[in-house]
């Protein structure tokens, strides 16, 4: 029940639908009781006394009552459907909003397939139960209640004897629920395992195929598919044990009724019509009783699903704006970034960056160079407040970023990530991702600055070319250039290029850099790169090693010092055309 208590905000607002649905169902159920009485009347007051007069009226009454009942059922289903659909809509929106809110640490470990199954299959189960299942369960009780009362008024002794199986049935139902619940939970888990396997397989199809690992993937998949199958069969076995048992218990009532009711008719305590009505009523009660296993099944499934959706909704958000956070005003932001003795470690790990300090006043270009895992990307993600800094502080225009509204901070920063992610949309919309009101001129300007315009125009549909979820069909360098255009169109105060031109050839890269040099005048730029040529114009180059700054300064100074920077330089420029003894110092220095 806890699950449904927590879900209350999502369905309680629709309580008018809940009540309407239940009321209509109750009305339909009550109308259902009229028919057995009409049958009783037919036998006791028409057939037995051979008084045929009321027959036409009686027949018409049947049609009216049953039609009305059908209409009520329809209304109940109608309201229930609306209810379920609205609840699913709300929950899905809420889950989606939650996904938007969850921060980077969550996505470091999140599994897409698993999250998707929560927002689809699990929500479906909740929809079914809240929309229809709940009313059905309630209906079972209503039928027992109404039917029971009516039977009691006709012959209470017979009623008590007949319904003796009901407590047993209830007991069995509860045990069934207990057994089936864990099975369903496992099943959901197994399904999500399987989904993950397929999802990774499809997303990583290039890797799979290039290693000819299809059969390995098939094995992996089979194992998970078999796990799912086993769980399904396991649940079915429990089902097979309890369901017919409940049916049998319900049927025992019919046998008891036949014997004891028959005896009471023979002993003239009961009329035949009443016995027939009793039969009708007992079917009426027992019909839904058979279904009780089914309803429990639904309930449990939706409970398990509810748990999974709630788990997502209750997920802790690592990075949040503090109350009364300062909202940066785009007009007045300068983009002055300072790191003061920042040390940071990812959960349960060694520090990723240690004691990082630097000052980047507006108009500066900061270059970051360093080995794999030396902490370059971490610095950028900390600046974006993707993670919380625990030691030291980062300021933008003198304000500690922890005091800033997260979104307003990020609005000032445009980051081009190492990995290019393009959305399923036209190239135009991908570039305008951060600024949907961008005009075509702005889009083209950004694309030109990113050196993407020319190749875009070569595509048959130009800017309207749809690129797939991973920008399939475009080369790595082309995707990177679209991503750069996407960043430039924001006109950011702080531009971050995280190894953003790795797949672009040097000539193009140089043109791109020349382009945004103009754009970023008076603003702050961070460039992470492995190529010296990408960094050489930086006002300050930070050379990182194992999370620490080991060298800093301008290109000209750094190549003179012996140290990692010069080593990298020498490697990259080992193949210069004229074998000069002096590395291009003089020329670099005059720049």
């Amino acid at each position: 029940m806890e699950v449904f208590r927590q879900l209350k905000p999502y369905y309680w607002v629709e309580r008018k639908f809940i009540f309407a649905s239940i009321l209509c169902l109750a009305a339909a159920t009550a109308l259902g009781l009229v028919y057995p009485n009409l049958l009783r009347y037919l036998i006791d007051d028409v057939v037995k006394p051979q008084n045929w007069e009321p027959v036409p009226l009686l027949s018409l009454a049947v049609v009216c009552v049953v039609s009305l009942k059908g209409f009520m059922n329809f209304l109940s289903g109608y309201f229930g459907g609306r209810l379920g659909n609205r609840v699913a809509y709300r929950l899905r929106n809420a889950s989606y909003a939650k996904l938007q809110e969850l921060s980077y640490p969550y996505y470091d470990t999140a599994k897409t397939g698993d999250l998707m199954s929560r927002l689809t299959a699990d929500l479906e189960a909740i929809r079914q139960f809240i929309g229809f299942g709940f009313a059905q369960v309630l209906n079972v009780f209503l039928m027992i209640l109404f039917g029971g009362v009516m039977m009691l008024t006709m012959d209470w002794q017979l009623t008590l004897v007949t319904l003796v199986a009901i407590p047993l049935l209830a007991f069995t139902a509860v045990r069934f629920e207990k057994n089936i619940h864990p099975a369903f939970r496992e099943m959901r888990q197994a399904l999500s395992h399987m989904t993950t396997a397929v999802q990774e397989n499809i997303t990583g199809v290039r890797t799979v195929k290039s290693f000819a690992r299809e059969s390995h993937e098939v094995e992996k998949f089979s194992a998970r598919s078999a796990e799912y199958q086993t769980n399904q069969v396991g649940a079915a076995t429990i089902w097979a044990r309890y369901f017919p048992l409940m049916e049998l218990l319900a049927n025992v009532s019919v046998v008891i009724l036949l014997i004891f009711g028959g005896l009471r008719v023979i002993d003239q305590h009961l009329t035949l019509g009443e016995l027939v009505a009793f039969f009708s009523l007992i079917w009426y009660i027992i019909g839904p009783m058979w279904g009780i296993g089914f309803h429990i099944n639904n309930y449990t499934q939706s409970k398990a699903s509810g748990e999974r959706v709630l788990e997502l909704l209750n997920q802790y958000v690592h990075v949040k704006s503090v109350p009364d956070a300062v909202v940066l005003d785009k007009q007045h932001v300068k983009g002055h970034v300072r790191f003061e003795n920042v040390t940071f470690n990812y959960a349960d790990k060694e520090p990723a960056v240690t004691d990082i300090s630097f000052d980047a006043p507006p108009g500066t270009v900061i270059g970051l160079l360093g080995g794999t895992g030396s902490g370059k990307s971490t610095i950028i993600q900390l600046l974006m407040h993707a993670y919380n800094v625990k030691q030291g502080k980062i300021t933008v225009d003198g304000l500690d970023i922890r005091q800033l509204d997260v979104q307003s901070l990020r609005s000032q920063i445009a980051t081009v990530f190492q990995e290019t992610f393009l959305f399923s949309a036209s190239i135009r919309d991908n570039i305008a991702y951060a600024d949907k009101d961008a005009t075509m001129e702005q889009i083209e300007r950004a694309a030109k600055l990113a050196k993407a315009h020319d190749f875009i125009m070569e595509l048959p549909l130009g800017y309207d070319t749809l690129v797939g979820e991973r920008g399939m069909g475009l080369s790595g360098g082309q995707k990177q250039r679209i991503a750069i255009a996407r960043a430039l169109i924001r006109n950011p105060h702080i531009l971050v290029l995280d190894d953003a031109t790795s797949a672009v050839d040097m000539e193009t890269e140089h043109e791109i850099q020349a382009g945004f040099k103009e754009l970023m005048k008076g603003r702050t730029t961070f460039i992470i790169a492995h190529r010296i040529s990408s960094l050489k114009d930086a006002d300050e180059i930070l050379v990182l090693d194992k999370g620490r700054i080991v060298q800093r300064g301008k290109h000209a100074a750094l190549v003179r010092q012996s140290g990692p920077y010069r080593e990298v330089y020498n490697i990259q420029y080992a193949d210069r055309p004229q074998q000069d003894d002096e590395p291009a110092l003089g020329k670099g220095g005059t720049a």
């Binding site: 037919l42 051979q50 045929w52 027949s59 049953v66 059908g70 329809f74 659909n85 699913a88 809509y89 996505y107 470990t109 897409t112 998707m116 927002l119 689809t120 989904t195 999802q199 890797t207 799979v208 290039s210 290693f211 299809e214 390995h216 098939v218 598919s225 199958q229 399904q232 079915a236 097979a240 017919p244 035949l272 016995l275 160079l369 794999t372 979104q407 445009a414 190492q418 992610f421 399923s424 919309d429 949907k436 048959p460 309207d464 749809l466 797939g468 979820e469 399939m472 069909g473 790595g476 360098g477 082309q478 190894d499 790795s502 797949a503 050839d505 040097m506 193009t508 990259q572 193949d575």
Partner: protein
Amino acid sequence: MASSAKGPAAPASGLDASMQEAAQAQRQRFKYTDDEVIEKPFNWKQVLRLLSYMKPYRKQLVPMVLMMLLGTLTRLAAPAVIILAIDEAIDKDGGDKSLLLAYGGIMLGLYVIQWAANTIRIKYTNIIGQKVIYDLRQQLFEHIQKLSFRFFDKRPAGSVLVRVTNDVNSLQDLFTNGVVNLLMDCIQLVGIAAILLIWNFQLGIAVMVTVPLMFIVSGALRKRIRFAWQDVRIKQSRINSHLNEAIQGMKVTQAYVQEKENYKFFDHMNTINKKSWDRASVLNQTFGPIIEVTAAIGTLILFWYGSHLLQTNVITVGLLVGFANYIGNFWDPINRLGQMYNQLLVAMASSERIFEFIDEEPTVKESGRARMLTGIKGDVSFDSIVFEYEKNRPALKGISLEVKAGQSVALVGHTGSGKSTIINLLCRFYDPVEGAVRIDGQDIRDVTIDSLRSQVGIVLQDTFIFSGTIRDNIRFGRLNATDEEVEMAARAVNAHEFIVTLPDGYDTEVQERGNVLSMGQRQLLSFARALLADPAILILDEATASIDTETELKIQEALKTLLAGRTSFIIAHRLSTIRHCDNIVVLDHGRIVEQGSHDELMRHGGTYYGLIEAQYRFLSA
């Protein structure tokens, strides 16, 4: 290209397409390809094809069917016993208590049999059904593994995923309980009809006269319901596609503060989905009342005509009660069949989409006479290759290249000049439109794909890391590698150092896409993977772009020994990484413009010289 609209007829810009919806929403941020609307509701061929999946379990089906029959018959018999009891034991003058007890006993016996039959039936139908589903899913997945890149290029991952999971799942109910319930309901219907007609033909006919009427009325409805559900599924699959991409691109979204915009988009999408559901569920609800009203008319006839027959002593009271009873049981199966029909339609649509995949032929096919490619030297030749990803957009315009075994070849050129395409053709991810690729003189179309790709190792630009341990990820290169071999490969590419700093070393679990690792680290893993595979031909496609220079240097040292005796292809933008290659091939717009060693090309003073020069120009600019 990814998802190229809906077809040639669709408006090119996509802007026009969204015009109608633009009225109620802002410009569509994302575009997804919809599934096609299926016109034909029932494809008997398809039904037969689905049923054929049950063939392997024929033998187990027999006892199941027997149990089903037994269960249904006992259910049918129970009301008959009640009627007999009323007519012969209760309603008889004075009654017959011992006979009544006997009938009671018979009924109890029937119910016990029913219990046993159902227990067995439910258990085994589920076992068989799940096996069938497993088989189908397996076949589908295996087939998808065989499909070529062209197939994946066209489709978002989400839509493929949905086939294997949701679509197969929607057949699950059909195979576990659906078919059996359908049969049981049919038997029950036929059984009841038969009993009623046998007992009293006239009354039977009279009572059932409304049934055809109901079918006519509901028939018209059914079509609308079908389209409504189809619409629901289309909307749902759009949501799936979006979710898949929204989750994967979340970091970009947050960095660009597009959470609210995306939420608006999703809300719109979700609202449309809700409306679609509303429509479908209302239509669905109309089935119930139609059946109930038809049932009511049946009951009216029973009361009226039954009374008349009673009056004339044609039937007994017990028979009237029995009729009432059976008619009550008559509409339930019809109601269920109506629901079943919906389920069946869903299943039909799903199976149509599943079969569409299963019937999809791989564009890169193995010829029937394909041989194993083993123990090769590593000579590679490209013979006048022409290739286009899309019609009239040539990516390679006549490439000829001879590579001797053991040679290293660098492919140089601007993005889009065709470097990666050459690699794609060598791995036979695509087949050339004209010309042939040969390894040791054998056309690669004449060898098995698996054996070809086992000989060709590739390190890609975008490395994919699977969820699992680091060790498993490296071992992906060669599944039977020992732990020592895995570590050796890791050491050779300098991945060992960072791996041991991870909390659990080689046993560290990395999640999907290797989120916890930096891109450079992922590429090192990918290197180790490729090395472990020990291929005769090694391809590095921008493999070191995200690796720092020092590590790259170390890798290259390691590679020098490892490349010995292997043919290698290297694509790199950092020209320093390729200067030692035996042959540097410069490409431009799908053509080879020059080739030779570093020194030769430098002397030649062509494009390559220009590129090298440019590096220094940029440095001093």
